[in-house]
Assembly symmetry: C2
Homo-oligomer: 439 residues x 2
């Protein structure tokens, strides 16, 4: 029969088979265990939201990347492209009066209309957190430390953690009274680490805002930020003259320094200060951070986050907020590429093959007893003979096969075959659960 | 600040706060544990599909209940209204060659555009299974038994399980050569248990297809089916003359009888044979079943399923298939209404309150150690004094508070306060994990 379009899944989406789902749930389970350890609790928001939730946060330009649609009452809705804005909407609407800090996490699917490519899908999953209330460096540090613990627990190795502070660049933009367009262009240059390579472009962007100031110290400062290799003390020493005019930069750098100290106290020794970490979104206000995996090539980022301000945008009071999102699919891809995927989950403890009609109902009664004792058990549902049953049990990775014939049943025994060793022997039915549990 | 529309969630959707998420995850966890016990493995499909996937299964009429939209390449897509069709699409495309049976489960969100009302939302969750391969009565029975085990494990009580066989009504429709429209009207009457009350309407529907046959025996038969109280042996005895002309009905009734026998062998003693169970969808072909909760009023169904044929529709070979879907939100609602919601999850083991600046980094180092030992620990992130920390710890349900002052740290001890008893005392830091674990 010909397959119509209905037999294909939509472009950029995926179906997950059982093996893959087990790997995903195993990693998710590690994240959940850590969330509990760090005192985070789960929230869940709708899969679609009012379009305005995201355009107010990210501007109208974001619409071209959204799965936006109108519902039957002509409301502008969209599948969510990320989950921070929904959680903050939820916070403002219903949780603003709760004792602070609120430590919230989510695990959900997001949607972006973009060309599918390796590790980028139109439907993808994010595990993320929002820490709402505190504005201290230790809060930022704990958020980084939690992300660090999750990624370590996932099994990934060789990750690079870069921590910066967006306040440095923002202070510079304010100092120069740059407009939004120019600021975004300048930040993008820093983000792409291109200030040095595209120095004349950087000069062109800064030009209209210099107001008689010399371009050179500013460009040198931007180059040092963009380079990434130079850390806070070096930058503070080399640009002392400029920084005297920019007291907000000094505050930002101090806050970053304290965050790094707390991070070390928390046991995170491999964080790299990097003032070139910019993050794409305007709502970040403080410490920002990214994790990159060596196993993903150019699109290496597996987690990003930072200190942000968003509650006001949704009508709430200003409140300290720090969060991150882990690109769950990227983590799984990096694990796969590096051969560090979680081991397969434990399969069936036993497959029961009733032999002959009268044994059939008894096999199901036995299965019910074994399941009640916590064993994973399957019974032949296709009325196959013993050898086909053994083939099937083998194909699904059952550890043992229980052959249940009528004459054996009369004697109160069953034949148990160990699929790894091939050994088999009679076991009394009352001792069956223990026999199946045995290695 | 005024709240724009962006501060509201879309109509008919929900935000789930941490307490509610814990209840949901607890029930989901019980379902997952049972899935493992029954040898089912998880699959996941995209949140949106080609519109045709559902219209080919359920007809164009279904579109008015769908969140259908066009993507930017003018493809007709829709948020999925259910997950059986996607799983069968996935099966046909990628799993058809795997050893049978395939025992698959899913847990996912579905979308229906309908007026929100108690227990009915525009985004809702389904836990469901598809058992692909076998066509035996024991396969149908095991599917029912698995659903039964899940619902029992959820904590619901007093559920009514109704098991019927759609083959009976379908055979009658074939016998009379009824067209689709008339058949659907007739089935709906039976489904709503209205054949008796609306006898003249039933007669009107049957009229054009009688072809000289007497209406009376057919109407009497339909009344008995619709009544629900009369079981298979009674019906077989009372309508012996009619059933002689309908050999397919006899086969269907036999298959139902065998399914009931297997169900009893599997330990399900409370199933009620009910030939009035129709299910809304045309694709059912055999045994059909529903679970109803006494805690939900008129909209009482919490689970429905049955034997169906769907692979052919997506270009696959015919294959035996049985599945069910549990209305996850309905289960949670029934649990809440009956006061049987799962108990709250265990909260924080300890909240650490550093006293004074120098104790702060040490508190985080200590928290990292305790977390590594499996404890759920939070540290004050807002630099509050001890009494405010105790208030917060109390509000989040922390079991103990660890007060960490500089002088105590020098002596290698901390003060531990039990929040339930109010008792407090000094504990050496090396014994802290055990002290926190103690009741």
């Amino acid at each position: 029969m010909a397959r119509g379009p209905s037999a294909q899944r939509p472009k950029g989406t995926r179906d997950f088979a059982p093996d893959e789902m087990e790997r995903r749930r195993a990693v998710e389970g590690r994240f959940r265990a850590l969330a509990r350890g760090f005192g985070y609790r789960e929230v869940q928001t709708p899969t679609f939201e009012h379009l305005e939730l995201f355009t107010s946060k990210s501007g109208e330009g974001v619409v071209k990347q959204l799965y936006a649609f109108k519902d039957k009452a002509d409301r502008d809705l969209t599948l969510r492209p990320e989950i921070t804005a929904p959680v903050l909407r939820f916070y403002v609407a219903e949780m603003a009066m709760q004792p602070k800090p609120l430590k919230l996490f989510y695990f959900g699917n997001c949607f972006r209309y973009e060309e599918p490519q390796s590790g980028r899908y139109r439907e993808f999953w994010q595990f993320g957190t929002e820490l709402i209330g505190p504005e201290t460096p230790e809060a930022a540090a704990e958020s980084v430390a939690f992300a660090h613990a999750c990624l370590a627990a996932s099994g990934l190795q060789g990750l690079e953690l870069r921590v910066g502070h967006i306040g440095v660049l923002k202070a510079l933009a304010r100092y120069l009274a740059m407009d939004d367009g120019a600021r975004q262009k300048l930040f993008a240059l820093v983000d792409k680490r291109e200030v040095q390579a595209k120095r004349s472009e950087a000069e062109r962007i800064l030009g209209p805002f210099l107001g008689g100031r010399a371009a050179q110290p500013l460009l040198g400062f931007l180059e040092d930020l963009s380079e990434g290799a130079k850390d806070r003390p070096t930058i503070q020493a080399e640009h002392a003259a400029l920084l005297k005019e920019l007291p907000e930069v000094g505050l930002a750098l101090d806050s970053l320094g304290k965050t790094m100290e707390f991070l070390r106290a928390m046991g995170v020794q491999d964080a790299k200060e990097d003032l070139g970490v910019v993050r794409g979104l305007d709502y970040y206000t403080g410490v920002v951070f990214e994790f990159h995996s060596p196993d993903l090539g150019a699109e290496s980022q597996v987690c990003g986050g930072g200190v942000y301000a968003l509650a006001e945008l949704f009508g709430g009071e200003p409140v300290g907020s720090t969060g991150f999102a882990i690109g769950f699919d990227r983590v799984l891809l990096a694990l796969e590429r590096s051969g560090r995927s979680p081991p397969p989950a434990k399969g069936l403890d036993a497959f029961i093959a009733p032999i002959g009609e009268p044994a059939r109902p008894k096999a199901f009664a036995l299965a019910a007893q074994l399941r009640a004792q916590g064993l994973a058990v399957d019974v032949d549902l296709m009325r196959r003979g013993p050898s086909k049953c053994l083939d099937y049990a083998n194909s699904v990775g059952a550890r043992k096969v229980v052959l249940l014939g009528s004459t054996e049943l009369e004697r109160g025994v069953a034949t148990v075959k160990d699929m790894a060793s091939g050994q088999q022997g009679e076991v009394p039915l009352e001792g069956l659960a223990e026999a199946l549990r045995a290695a």
